[in-house]
């Protein structure tokens, strides 16, 4: 069993852990850091349920190894809300019924968080494009698109002085 020590920042918190080199980032987050909000729907890079943000980019944590993460900054769904206050995207998902079983939801939230940072005022087509690599089996996607567009608008509104 080959191990490595990794130092990462997860949701703003520094952690140092020794991990087996074959351990995926998803399993590291879930098993070593107890951040089980990151879900595994396929473990082969298609469903997007495991999406997290690494150094500002949305990535699939089932396709990365924890050992590759040394020195990087990771954000997961657990870092979105501020205490009990949902962030605008989470709030919009609730308001517009953008989730049913909720299993795919963390992946969508992370993908869209990334989109809204890069493109604060996306078009319908841009939202669809952004989430075209995330599978949801419950919602039919329509309310997810609505939630994302609403969140963009409410962010824009709250950013205005």
């Amino acid at each position: 069993m080959i191990e490595r020590t990794v130092r990462v920042t997860v949701n703003g918190r520094r952690v140092e852990k020794t991990v087996e080199v074959r351990k995926t980032l998803a399993d590291f987050l879930r098993d070593d850091l107890d951040l089980t909000g990151t879900h595994l729907g396929c473990e082969h890079g298609v469903c997007g349920a495991c999406t997290v943000i690494v150094d500002g980019a949305a990535v699939r944590s089932c396709l990365l190894f924890a050992a590759q993460m040394d020195g990087h900054e990771i954000e997961t769904v657990e870092g979105l809300a501020n205490g009990e206050t949902l962030d605008p995207l989470q709030e919009a998902f609730r308001e517009h019924h953008g989730l049913q079983c909720g299993f795919c939801t963390p992946g969508f939230l992370m993908t869209l968080t990334c989109l809204l940072r890069e493109c604060p005022n996306p078009s319908d087509a841009q939202v669809r494009e952004a989430i075209s690599g995330n599978l949801c089996r419950c919602t039919g996607y329509r309310n997810i698109v609505t939630a994302a567009l609403t969140a963009a608008r409410s962010r824009a509104a709250s950013a205005r002085p």
Partner: protein, 770 residues
């Protein structure tokens, strides 16, 4: 404002949005071991020696379980669709003597981590003696094909018959007869969360606990108790979050025995989490049917007879659903039409493929495709507009209740109520049918292939026989609803809270809902067959009404006032006009034990709601599609669903159900297929081969009309159930639209899915033959 009928935001969402929901794989216990299943790589083989020595020698491997270790273990029984003769085809938790499909569990490895358990699978040695396999149901019934279960004496497990009137004679006398072969492919629910289970055994008390159960916890607890020979009261089932059900999750599978058996044997908690490849080969498949169907009309275009001979591919074993899927197809094949003479014969055929079960709209997705495609084909032959042909044959509201002539789930199919013509009109209006036709004509002139199609469906919902609920006001004044229903991720907590909120005058957000826990809810049937709204909600409503009566009874004693003079407000009761003379729920709950002498102590009440008859929601799907003739790609430009569910408790949730089900329906119509080669190897074992619709495949616009025109008389809320109608009509509507688009090219559409490769082959073939 009443909570019922309002789009109350879901109680479930906050925890799910923040990553705090605990799904099967998120559950942890100290000392947890992890299991992995060794599965057969062969579709059909004699099982020889299984050598575990190398696996057991690996570090961290704790046990390897094979059939011989299980002793005299029974077969997993059917839950529905039982046929006495089929017992010999039921599956055991591990293979013995023979394997009959790729993916069949052969051994169960338990190790300190999932990684180590999978390492151990790699070094397991099994002797197989491969046998010829049969992967096509149509070949399976031919003479000389390999037989899966010798005790059956062939590969037809059962043949089901439905008979109304004399269809043979009526067909012979028909003015026009239309006969077609139509087929629906193998596909299935594919929840985004795979299956998973954790079990722990406490040797001190004998208590065996399971976490991650779903759908039908009380039933499955009994099955497990019987299979293990363990007292039922010493088994506790607890549901966690459920990442999608769709009929697939929560049935009793082999792993549901292996995990608790191992935990009990090893005296340590064991967790098993399915991976996606396993899910695609191990969880129930569904939908595969081949129909040879004929319909006869009189001179006026009225249906005189329907005769259907169909075949259902069951796979290698019969699982918990028995033959209920073909039963449902036969029971509802006549759909919304008045059909005086009807026969159906369903052959339930075994093949060397994964066993099958239900998937959202089971039997109806298939049957609706068959009937509605046939109606369009017949309309063409009769030279009648397909909508007109439907209107001419609809059962009318004054014919209700209407006995269809068949039955399923041990009851006759008797439609409770419905106004079918109105639902058709609503769907057409939502689609803006007239302008769609104009646009189609215009597009045709430009050389574009646009088509319009409808699929009318009659669903069934609210399968009983009963559901249990208990409503309680606890000693701190909180309202708690305990329900025997189970979550499948649809939002049942919210709707349960809504129906109780109005009775008890509290806001639904303040109500706690408990379900899926055998220790806290003593009875239950579960979450399937769109029964949450029409069976579980009335149970909760009636229990809440009983509690309301008790509240007034206790309050009138405490406040020394007549019940008529009391007002129930937010969590308290006061005397009308005297707001200070007031007692809170907290005080009432404490005073209710033992309470007034003529009252059963405690501020709680239970209710069993019985539902001997099912209810039949109905509706219409309508689609506008464009086919790219060069690539065979179908784009859905516009889609409309009008669906009558009697009464919507939470329109937001209902609409979510319909649009979500539609996505699955579209998957079945255009993309999804579990493909096998001739040797019975499953070729679709990842999401690269098994294509689930993404946002890109969804219609450019979708209109949903929730109709409440015909509340059912079968329950006090008038609700029917909304879970499945968003799927069932979709294969039909899309296929009819594609057929309409390609009619000028002479392409005939008789099978799903209409994937680009299949469709372009059909387009080429039509071109060649012209």
């Amino acid at each position: 404002m009443p909570a019922i009928g309002r789009s109350v935001r879901r109680l479930e969402d906050r925890r799910l949005l923040t990553g705090r929901g605990k799904y099967a794989a998120d559950f942890r216990l100290p000392g947890l071991l992890h299991g992995a299943v060794l599965r057969s790589p062969h579709a059909h083989a004699r099982l020889g020696e299984i050598r575990s020595k190398a696996a057991l020698a690996l570090p961290g491997v704790v046990a390897v379980v094979t059939f011989d270790d299980l002793g005299d273990v029974g077969r997993i029984p059917t839950r529905l669709g039982h046929q006495a003769g089929n017992v010999v085809c039921l599956q055991r938790p591990l293979a013995s003597e023979k394997v009959r499909y790729v993916g069949e569990p052969v051994a169960f490895v338990v190790a300190e981590s999932r990684y180590l358990a999978e390492d151990a699978l790699d070094v397991m040695e099994v002797d197989y003696e491969p046998l010829p396999a049969v992967a096509d149901a149509r070949r399976s019934v031919e003479a000389g094909t390999p037989v899966l279960h010798d005790a059956v004496g062939g590969n037809v497990a059962t043949t089901l018959h439905t008979r109304k009137g004399d269809a043979t004679a009526a067909m012979a006398a028909a003015h026009v007869r239309v006969r077609e072969r139509l087929a629906v492919q193998r596909h299935t629910g594919i929840p985004m969360e795979t299956r998973g289970l954790t079990a722990a055994f406490d040797a001190g008390t004998g208590m065996l606990r399971l976490w991650g159960v779903a759908k039908i916890p009380h039933f499955n607890r009994r099955v497990l108790a019987d299979l293990l020979g363990h007292p039922e009261h010493l088994i506790q089932f607890t549901e966690l979050e459920v990442g999608g059900g769709f009929g697939v999750r929560g049935e009793f599978y082999p792993e549901d025995f292996l995990v608790p058996w191992s935990a009990k044997r090893l005296g340590r908690p064991v967790q098993w989490i399915e991976d996606r490849r396993e899910h695609l080969m191990a969880a129930n498949h569904s939908r595969q049917q081949y129909h040879d169907v004929e319909i006869g009309f009189d001179r006026d275009g009225r249906i005189v007879a329907l005769v259907d001979h169909f075949m259902v591919d069951l796979g290698g074993y019969i699982r918990t659903h028995g033959v209920v899927v073909p039963e449902l197809t036969a029971a509802l094949l006549p759909g919304p039409y008045r059909i005086p003479h009807y026969t159906a014969e369903a052959r339930c055929v075994l093949t060397n493929k994964t066993p099958t079960g239900t998937y959202r709209g089971p039997g109806r997705y298939e049957g609706t495709f068959v009937r509605e495609r046939l109606m369009d084909i017949a309309a063409r032959k009769l030279g009648v507009d397909p909508l007109e042909l439907r209107r001419r044959n609809f059962i009318t509201p004054d014919e209700m209740p209407y006995d269809v002539g068949g039955g399923a789930l041990a009851q006759r199919t008797v439609y409770d109520c419905g106004d079918y013509a109105s639902a058709l009109d609503k769907a057409l209006a939502a689609l803006d049918y007239e302008s769609a036709r104009r646009e189609q004509a215009e597009a045709r002139r430009q050389g574009r292939s646009i088509g319009i199609g409808v699929g009318f469906l009659v669903e069934k919902a609210g399968l009983g026989p009963w559901e249990y609920a208990r409503v309680e006001i606890d000693a701190t004044g909180h309202v708690v609803v305990y329900s025997g229903v189970a979550s499948v991720g649809q939002g049942i907590e919210t709707t349960l809270a809504q129906v109780c909120a109005d009775e008890l005058n509290v806001s639904p957000e303040k109500i706690t809902v408990v379900h899926g826990d055998s220790a806290r809810v003593p009875f239950g049937v579960g979450g399937f067959a769109s029964r949450g709204a029409s069976v579980a909600l009335p149970a909760a409503l009636e229990a809440a009404r009983k509690v309301r009566a008790k509240i007034f009874r206790v309050a009138s004693t405490l406040l020394e006032a007549a019940a008529d003079d009391l007002v129930l407000d937010d969590g308290a009761v006061h005397v009308r006009g005297v707001p200070d003379r007031r007692v809170t729920f907290r005080e009432l709950a404490r005073a209710a034990v033992p309470g007034p002498p003529d009252m059963e102590p405690g501020l709680y009440a239970a209710h069993f709601f019985e539902a001997p008859m099912m209810t039949y929601p109905y509706g219409c799907h309508a689609a506008v599609v464009e086919v790219d003739v060069a690539t065979g790609t179908v784009k859905i430009l516009k889609y409309a669903i009008a669906y009558d569910i009697g009464k919507a408790i939470n329109p937001m949730i209902v609409e979510g159900q319909l649009v979500g089900a539609l996505a699955q329906g579209i998957g079945g119509a255009l993309l999804e297929e579990l493909v096998y080669d001739e040797q019975g190897q499953l070729l679709t074992t990842t999401f690269m081969e098994y294509l689930v619709p993404t946002v890109m495949e969804m219609p450019e616009s979708t209109e949903v009309r929730i109709l409440e025109e015909t509340p059912t008389p079968l329950n006090p809320l008038g609700v029917k159930g909304a879970g499945e109608g968003g799927s069932s009509g979709c294969g039909a509507a899309v296929a009819n639209a594609v057929a309409d688009a390609l009619a000028p090219l002479g392409v005939s559409i008789t099978a799903l899915p209409l994937s680009p490769d299949r469709l372009s082959a059909l387009i080429r073939a039509a071109g060649d033959s012209r």
